[in-house]
């Protein structure tokens, strides 16, 4: 965006089309995701009636209600949360490499979840989620704080390098905690990253936070567009940038913390989706944020379906699938050395 002097508004028609087609694809992938699995007797009719005419004595209905549907919802909400987090971070920091996993936010969450599992055995899910939020804040504060001390100022690339060093530090410490307190198995669940063992109650707790985060992001979207022109420009236009940055950070922490508490560390969604969205709908964050949410949901639920079908009946963690999609993209950005948002 540095090279463009005026906002490159694409036709709102394109953006609306992305949203409408996106929602249709999302609905289709939900149906596929619910229908697809080890129990092959489910028909599309079962899916339909399990949602709208639930019969607790019908085992297919129970499978759909207790396993498949929560899993689909989890995949969509985690994907949306991570993608919007990444979009906000990229917009606020004008850093094309910004994303929750690269900036150490998800690793902070997982680290505090590890501490919580070790120090407070039998902690409730809600408590775990609180630790996850605090951890997200801790990770972000560490990475941005340390980068700010760097000679030659904060560059996108330095943030990414500090983020990856902090990630490897925190994950080493988490592993050590896991071995010491005999909770390695629980911790490795968060580090593997996936939506395979979702419980419906967890989603009920986490979804409100994600919804609040998404609404906050939508409210802020206009200010983020302005902020993405540069802090000086934003100030010149009369924006209270500190205020916007604070609220934006809160939205990122809510979204990332809740996403990690559901599905653990899933990388690259928050990096790739905002770039694809910008390519499709231009640079207006009022469009980028809702479109990112939808595309992020589609990406993660599709990755989950792929993960289930690569090697049935085993499941490949969804984080591996997103990494395979995300790495080439990351390498492309790395070649540009973080320039050109």
């Amino acid at each position: 965006m540095n090279t463009k002097t005026t906002l490159d508004y694409k036709n709102p028609f394109t953006s609306s089309a992305v949203i409408i087609i996106g929602i249709i694809l999302l609905a289709l992938s939900v149906v596929v995701s619910i229908n697809f699995g080890a129990s092959s007797t489910l028909s599309y009719q079962d899916v339909w009636s399990a949602i709208f005419h639930f019969d607790p004595t019908n085992s297919s209905h129970v499978i759909i209600r207790e396993l498949r549907l929560p899993r689909a919802i989890a995949a969509i909400s985690v994907g949306a949360a991570l993608a919007v987090s990444g979009a906000i971070m990229q917009g606020m920091t004008r850093n094309p490499l910004a994303s929750p996993s690269i900036m150490g936010v998800t690793s902070g969450s997982s680290f505090l979840i590890a501490i919580a599992l070790a120090a407070l055995p039998g902690i409730s899910y809600l408590g775990l989620m609180m630790f996850s939020f605090v951890g997200a804040g801790l990770g972000a504060a560490l990475v941005f704080g340390i980068s700010a001390m760097a000679k030659g100022g904060v560059t996108p690339v330095k943030l990414a390098l500090v983020g990856s060093a902090i990630t490897s530090l925190l994950s080493s410490l988490s592993t050590a905690i896991g071995i010491k307190f005999n909770v390695s198995k629980d911790i490795s669940y968060w580090y593997a990253g996936g939506v395979s063992s979702i419980q419906p109650q967890h989603i009920l707790f986490a979804i409100p936070f994600i919804i609040v985060g998404l609404i906050l992001a939508l409210i802020l979207s206009r200010s983020i567009s302005v902020l993405s022109l540069g802090e000086d420009v934003a100030k010149g236009l009369g924006q209270r940038t500190g205020y916007v940055q604070l609220l934006g950070t809160i939205a990122v922490l809510l979204l990332t913390g809740a996403a990690v508490s559901i599905a653990g560390m899933i990388g690259f969604v928050g990096l790739v989706i905002p770039h694809i969205t910008r390519f499709l709908v231009g640079v207006d964050y009022r469009w980028i944020i809702p479109c990112s949410a939808i595309l992020g949901g589609i990406l993660l639920i599709t990755a989950d379906i792929v993960g289930r079908s690569v090697n049935p009946p085993f499941e490949t963690p969804v984080s591996a699938i997103t990494a395979l999609i995300g790495v080439p993209f990351f390498l492309y950005l790395a070649r540009k050395e973080g320039r050109g948002l």
């Binding site: 340390i146 001390m149 760097a150 000679k151 030659g152 690339v157 330095k158 990414a160 390098l161 500090v162 990856s164 060093a165 902090i166 490897s168 530090l169 080493s172 410490l173 592993t175 050590a176 071995i179 010491k180 593997a192 990388g267 690259f268 690569v310 090697n311 085993f314 499941e315 490949t316 963690p317 984080s319 591996a320 699938i321 990494a323 395979l324 995300g326 790495v327 990351f330 390498l331 790395a334 070649r335 050395e337 973080g338």
Partner: protein, 342 residues
Amino acid sequence: MMPNTLAKNEAKYKFLMITTFILIIMAILISINAGYMKIPIADVIATLFGNGTPQNELTIFEFRLPRIFMALLVGLGISISGAILQGISGNPLADPGILGINAGAGFTIVLYMFFFQGTVFITGWLSIFIMPFAALIGGFIAAFLIYIISWKNGRVTPIRLILVGIGINAAFGAGLTIFQMKMEPIDFMKAIVWLSGSIWGTNWTFVWMIALWLVVLIPIVLYKSRVLDVLKLGDSIAIGVGANIEKERRFLLFISVAIAAVCVSVGGGITFLGLIAPHMARRLVGASHAKSLPLAALLGALLLLLADTLGRVILAPMELPVGLVISVLGAPYFIYLLIKTN
């Protein structure tokens, strides 16, 4: 340079080498002594001179000592490999672990062990000696990918190199995660622990295997230390003094990847050590590779042995993989270097 400062430097270098060597001997004694079964120092010395109880002899000669030598050799190799990478890329942040060379080598080793031995971690004599070749293939694939992807407009900038390395690391990690389904869960857990860096080949066959490789490769590096000095001055000066830089650079890269791959085949993916040891050595004796390489090698051996001992002791009877200990120490060091470099 004044003659007497030169002499002083020489004396300082000798002093540092001897000190590090003594520290290594002390670390060996501590490491033999420490562990789940504590053996008093007096008994350790008695056993080393052949007057120990059979039980102590078994523990020390068959378990502790091979592991100690393995740690020393792997530490030595990784430091040299890191020092070469830093020299040829002019990049103080280069390290075989950070760049993803270890991940590539680890990936092919897991494949090799899985497909050709039926199960991971079998310790047949022949397969131990073939294993490093599997590691070499992966290491070279990774190095090649990193090199071509970070090559742009005729050069490779340090930061881009590291960033690409992080990506390559993630790619091999994801590849392994997908491959895990084919493995038994227990093998997979072992593979994961090992990839995060764990000295697992703890018998003498492994020690001889890695020693053989290092004995061949390291003298070549020392012989080339002057070339490394020249390369570090920058391309134009290097060309000016008559070095065939691309040829030398490729050759040294080859050696560096080979050393790293061999170390990975027994020590797993130890990250950051190849960064710390050469950097400390340069701080202590200056930039001349003829001096900094041997010192880096000794420091690397010392650090890895200490880290391995710490990992065995700190959570005893559980064991912390040495790679994690090194990461906890090395990541802050990496950040410190990152903040300092412009």
